[in-house]
């Protein structure tokens, strides 16, 4: 992340904004995207530390805490919604700072005194490792983005007599794969439609005729119950929408008929 000072005075949401906290180097126009730019309090702290070329193992807790608080104050001033984690971190930093300021209590238990910063440093280091790991992962050549599976058509020959067996899992995997690709590469958002509707659409197409009219009511089987009727109804609407079916009514309140378009 490279955020530099470009303009000493800037406008934030149209309002001139001059009262920047000391040591705050983020250009004001970047503040609005603040919460998007940082992945959380640890990410923000890492940024504050890196900006001053400090080592994680040697952070001046008072200075970093002050800067962190400045950010939070500014964000609150801008009425940006703060994730709770940022406030938890603020409380933690304040606690560490106060413990460092207090005189060291005489060791009563004989145990080594633990640096109150130790846990913070451990978490910062740990987060930094995985932040770097995520970048490393993103840099790997990825299928469909950087490299592409190479394939050529296999035209089935007469030598295979036994037809291939297909498991349901194969079919599902193939569907998953093709939908994934479609989503990856374009806007073909294939909506999940209830299959019962799709099946009913096929059934209706089989029963209706292009010449002869079929009574609308004949498409319904009351024995199927409410759900069956609804499925049929949606299927008919879908077929009409797709211009496969034509709905005809000769006069108001007369019986409805359907036939195949064309």
């Amino acid at each position: 992340m490279s955020l530099t000072v470009d303009e000493p005075i800037a406008r934030v949401r149209g309002e001139p904004f001059a009262a920047l906290p000391a040591d705050l180097y983020i250009p004001p126009d970047a503040l609005e995207v603040f919460l998007d730019a940082f992945e959380g309090p640890l990410d923000l702290l890492l940024y504050l530390i890196k900006r001053q070329n400090l080592d994680i193992l040697d952070i001046p807790i008072a200075a970093i805490t002050a800067q962190y608080m400045d950010y939070l104050a500014l964000l609150q001033e801008l009425r940006l919604e703060l994730a709770a984690e940022y406030l938890v971190m603020a409380a933690w930093l304040a606690e560490i700072k106060s413990r460092l300021l207090l005189p060291r209590a005489p060791s009563t238990s004989g145990e080594a005194e633990v640096d109150p910063r130790a846990e913070l440093i451990r978490r910062l280091q740990e987060y930094e490792r995985f932040k770097a790991a995520a970048e490393g992962l993103d840099a790997l050549p990825r299928l469909d983005r950087d490299v592409f599976a190479a394939g050529a058509e296999w035209v089935e020959s007469g030598t295979v007599r036994t037809p291939p067996r297909v498991e349901l899992t194969d079919l599902l995997a193939a569907l998953g794969e093709v939908l994934r690709r479609a989503e990856l590469h374009g806007h073909h958002h294939v909506a999940a439609e209830p299959l019962s509707v799709r099946e009913r659409m096929s059934r209706i197409l089989e029963t209706v005729d292009a010449v002869r009219f079929t009574a609308f009511t004949a498409l319904f089987m009351p024995a199927e119950g409410r759900r069956g009727v609804v499925v049929t109804f949606i299927a008919v609407l879908e077929l009409i929408r797709e211009a496969l079916l034509e709905l005809v009514q000769h006069e108001p309140f007369a019986p409805l008929y359907v036939r195949l378009r064309g």
Binding site: W154, E156, S157, T169, L172, L175, E177, V190, P194, L244
Partner: protein, 189 residues
């Protein structure tokens, strides 16, 4: 990067990545308007490729949908075993076509191609029709009156389903993968 790769290499990569036929217009569209090769240059590069593949495990053929790379028939004794093995399998293209017909019926070939992003060969549709899993339900009333495909009773029987509604939802895909992996070891490609 210093300099673009030779035209034929770009075409080779595109044809392999597409896994289906690409026509001249599609091949042209791979290039910036300023660097677009002429149809003659494309044809010459395709001819070069075809010559390169002599004796190899791939051949370039011109079909209705454009140019397509395919595995030559003389390799059938070996390659067909890929699908003949115990969990015998159709090609990825065939399975995807079947899956789209099953889940999106009634559907036209054009609609399948739109989702898959590449042309669907007639051989695939023919194989599914011959297998008795797919049938023509009717024709869509749009220019060309394309056939509308759907699955058959036989298809349901093969998969032990009473109705299409029993087809697993896409969300179950991962679970099935896990189960499959546990039962059979790693699933094949």
């Amino acid at each position: 990067m210093n300099g673009a790769p030779p035209l034929k290499i770009v075409l080779e990569g595109a044809l392999l990545a597409a896994g289906g036929p690409l026509d001249l217009a599609r091949l042209e569209s791979l290039f910036d308007a300023t660097a677009r090769p002429s149809p003659e240059a494309l044809r010459a590069a395709l001819a070069e490729l075809a010559a390169d593949y002599r004796g190899r495990g791939v051949e370039l053929v011109e079909v209705a949908g454009g140019w397509r790379l395919q595995v030559p028939q003389r390799l059938a004794p070996w390659v067909s075993r890929l699908w003949e093995e115990k969990p015998g399998r159709y090609s990825r293209a065939t399975l995807e076509t079947l899956a789209l017909i099953a889940y999106r019926q009634p559907i036209t070939r054009g609609e399948i191609e739109e989702v898959r992003g590449v042309a669907v060969s007639s051989a695939i549709v023919k194989a599914l029709l011959e297998r008795g899993w797919v049938r023509v339900l009717g024709h869509k009333e749009v220019p060309g009156r394309p056939a509308l495909y759907g699955t058959t009773r036989e298809f349901l029987d093969h998969f032990g389903l009473r109705s299409l509604a029993e087809l697993p939802a896409l969300a179950e895909l991962r679970d099935l993968d896990t189960i499959g992996a546990e039962l059979y070891g790693a699933p094949g490609a």
